[in-house]
Symmetry: C2
Subunit: 345 residues, 2 copies
DNA sequence: GGGCGTCGTGGAACCGGCTCCATCCGTTGT
DNA sequence: ACAACGGATGGAGCCGGTTCCACGACGCCC
C-alpha cells in the first residue's frame, strides 16, 4: 500500500520517479510542450494522477522569475468609484493567469506602503495605480525594478494612463445648467492639497469656467468653493453658498458624494430640488441613480477594465519594450435625472 | 567603477562576497538573529547598502514554504457590504506582513475558481471566505492542503466563523415596528436557492416570525415574500404587497438594497414614508444613512477585521493546531432614522 | 554500411533564499 | 599547559520547479 495520505505533497521528482522518466520530461508534459512521445506522456499523466500531484507555483515562480500577480494600488478604497474600478480590473484578471493583489493605502503610512510595494518589485509582475500619482522617488524605483505600471484616473508623463477629460466633464455639466437657463451657477470641489488625489477637481473647475465664459457669464469668485471629498464638508459649504445674499440657482459638484451633501444642504434649508435649486454631480455612482441625481457619468468599471488590459499587454509583451506614456481617454456624458430643471424666475 | 547600474539585482551571494563573509552570515543579519559579531554585522550592512540589495521574496517564500499572502474570496463584490468587509480585512493585513489577494468569484466559473484557488494551496497561507459557504468537495481540498480558513458572514461546522445573529436581527427590526404600534408587518427577503448565499435571509424571517408570535400577532402568509437581493426585484414585490386589499403598514426588508426597492415602490404608489408606510432595512450600508433609512446595523467592517485577526492567529500559530470551528457572534442593533413611525390609524 | 540529422529523453545547473552542520577560535577550568 | 566548551562563521544542500545541453536511437540518403 502506497496510497497512504502523503504527509508532504508530491513533487516533480516523485512524479518522475514513479513514471520512470526524468524531471525534464515531466516538466515538458506539464507545460504542454511538443517532443514527448504519446506513450511517455501517458505514463507521466498516470503518475501525476496517482500521486495527485500539483505543481508548486512558488517554485515555478522562482524559477520563472515572475509572480503571476498584478498589484492594484488604491487610495480611499471606501469610495464607490474606487470599488467600481477594482471590479473592472478583477473582471479582466479573472480570465487571465494573473491574481489580484490589493493594496489599500488609505490609512497606511506612505513610507511603509512604498517599502512593501517596491521592496524589490518582485511581489507583482505589474502595478495598476488607481486615482493616484506616484511621487518622483517611487517612479524612480518603479523604473529601477523594471516594473510595468499603468495609471487609471491619474495622468503621468512617464506611464500609460487611462483617464477621462475632466475639463470637458466640467464643461458638459455646466453647459447643461446654462442650457436650462441658469446663470447663477456655483461650483463645489476638492481642496487641491489632497495628498494623493491629483487635479481632477481642478480640471473640472476649468471646464466650469470655460462653459461660463462661452456663455458670456461673468464668473463670481464667491461661487467657487473647495472642501474635501466628504459629503459632510460639502454640505457645510453648500449651506454657506445658499445663504449668500445673491444665492446660486444651481450647483455643480465635483463628485457625487459632494452633490449628495449639497442635496442635504438644500433639504436643511428647505429649498426644493429641482424647483428652487438644481444640482449636478460627477461620477454617476450607484447612489446617484437611486437618488435621481443628474450627474456626469464616467465609465468607472470600464476604466479599470482598460487599465488592466493595457497592463496585461505590457506584462506579457516584450520585456524591455518601454511603455510609451500614452494616454487613453474615456468618454464622459451628462446623465439627466431629476435634480436639474429650469431656474425659478 | 563598480557602480554601473546592475542589469540584474544583487543576490545574497553578491552581498556575501562583497562583505567577505558567508551567505549564512548574511542571512543571519537579514533576519536579525543573534550570534553575529557587531563588526561582521556592520560589514554586511555596508555591502547591502552599497549593492542596494533587497532580498527576493520569491526565493524567500519558496525556501520558507509560505507566501505571506492571505486570500480573500468574495462573491458579489458589487455590494457595499462586501466592500466594507474587505476594507476591514485590509485594515488588519496592512499592519501585518501579509498581502491581500482578492478573488472575486462573481462571474467566474466556479470550477475555474476552485482550480486556481486550491490548486495546491500554495498561493496563499490562509483563506478568508466572505459570505459564502464552501461546498463539501472544496472543504475536503482545504483540509488536504492544510490551509487555514475562516468564514465571515457564513457558518460552517468545520471552520471558525464570524457571524451575526440573524434571527435576533430580524426580531429586533420587527419588534421595533411592533413597538411603534404596527400589526400589519410584511417581510421582503431573498429566495433561498441563491447559489452562494446561505440562510441569512431565512434566519431573519425566523426572527420576524418570532417577534410577531411574542406580540401575539397572527402571521399572514401573504405578507412574507421572497425575491433576489436586487432592489428592482424588491420594488416589484413591494408593489404587489402594497396593493393587497389589506395592505401592510410596515415592511421589514432583509437587506438595505431591498429596503430601497420598497421605498421606491412607496414613491411610485404615492405612499408617504413614514406616515403611511414604515420601512426597515438590514445591514446599514452607507446609503442607508443618506436616505434616512431605519435599519438593523451589523458591523460589516468589524466582521472583516475580526475574521482577518482570527485567521492571522491560525496562520501564525502552531502549524497543526487544528482550528476549532468556533463561532464568534457580532452584535446587531436597530438604527432608528426617518423611515419608521407609528402606523396611520 | 557509414555519415548525418532529428526526435525523445535524462539530468545537472540554476533561480535566490534558509538551515544545519562542521569548523574555527577564544575562553575558562584544573 | 591542555582539555572542554561555546559562540561566530562558512558553505553545502535543500526548497521545487525550468532550462539547456548532451546523448542515444532511429531513419534517411548516397
Amino acid at each position: 500500500m502506497e496510497t497512504l495520505p502523503p504527509t508532504t505533497p508530491a513533487t516533480i521528482n516523485d512524479v518522475a520517479a514513479r513514471a520512470g522518466v526524468g524531471v525534464g520530461t515531466v516538466s515538458r508534459v506539464l507545460n504542454g510542450r511538443a517532443n514527448v512521445r504519446p506513450v511517455t506522456r501517458a505514463k507521466v499523466l498516470d503518475a501525476i494522477e496517482a500521486l495527485k500531484y500539483r505543481p508548486s507555483s512558488l517554485a515555478r515562480n522562482l524559477s520563472l522569475r515572475r509572480t503571476h500577480v498584478i498589484g492594484v494600488v488604491v487610495p480611499f478604497f471606501t469610495s464607490h468609484s474606487a470599488v467600481e474600478r477594482v471590479r473592472g480590473v478583477a473582471s479582466v484578471l479573472a480570465r487571465s493567469p494573473y491574481d489580484l493583489m490589493l493594496f489599500d493605502i488609505e490609512a497606511e503610512d506612505r513610507r511603509e506602503h512604498a517599502f512593501r510595494l517596491f521592496d524589490r518589485g518582485d511581489r507583482s509582475d505589474g502595478l495598476l495605480l488607481l486615482s493616484l500619482v506616484p511621487p518622483d522617488d517611487e517612479v524612480e524605483r518603479l523604473r529601477a525594478a523594471r516594473l510595468p505600471c499603468v495609471l487609471v484616473d491619474a495622468p503621468h508623463p512617464e506611464f500609460p494612463s487611462i483617464v477621462i477629460d475632466d475639463v470637458r466633464g466640467g464643461e458638459l455639466a455646466t453647459s447643461h445648467l446654462i442650457e436650462l437657463g441658469h446663470r447663477l451657477i456655483a461650483f463645489v470641489g476638492d481642496k487641491p492639497p489632497d495628498p494623493f488625489r491629483f487635479a481632477s477637481s481642478r480640471d473640472r473647475t476649468v471646464g466650469y469656467e470655460r462653459a461660463l465664459a462661452q456663455a458670456g457669464i461673468e464668473p463670481r469668485p464667491e461661487f467657487v468653493r473647495e472642501g474635501t471629498q466628504s459629503h459632510q464638508v460639502a454640505r457645510g459649504i453648500a449651506i454657506d453658498l445658499l445663504r449668500l445674499p445673491q444665492r446660486p440657482t444651481a450647483v455643480f459638484a465635483a463628485s457625487d458624494a459632494q452633490a449628495l451633501g449639497v442635496l442635504e444642504a438644500a433639504r436643511i434649508l428647505g429649498l426644493r430640488v429641482p424647483e428652487e435649486l438644481s444640482v449636478v454631480g460627477f461620477d454617476d455612482v450607484e447612489v446617484a441613480a437611486l437618488v435621481g441625481l443628474t450627474t456626469v457619468r464616467q465609465p468607472l468599471f470600464e476604466s479599470g477594465r482598460r487599465g488592466a488590459e493595457r497592463l496585461l499587454q505590457l506584462v506579457t509583451g516584450e520585456p524591455d519594450q518601454v511603455a510609451q506614456p500614452d494616454v487613453e481617454q474615456l468618454p464622459v456624458e451628462v446623465v439627466i435625472r431629476s435634480t436639474t430643471a429650469a431656474p425659478p424666475r
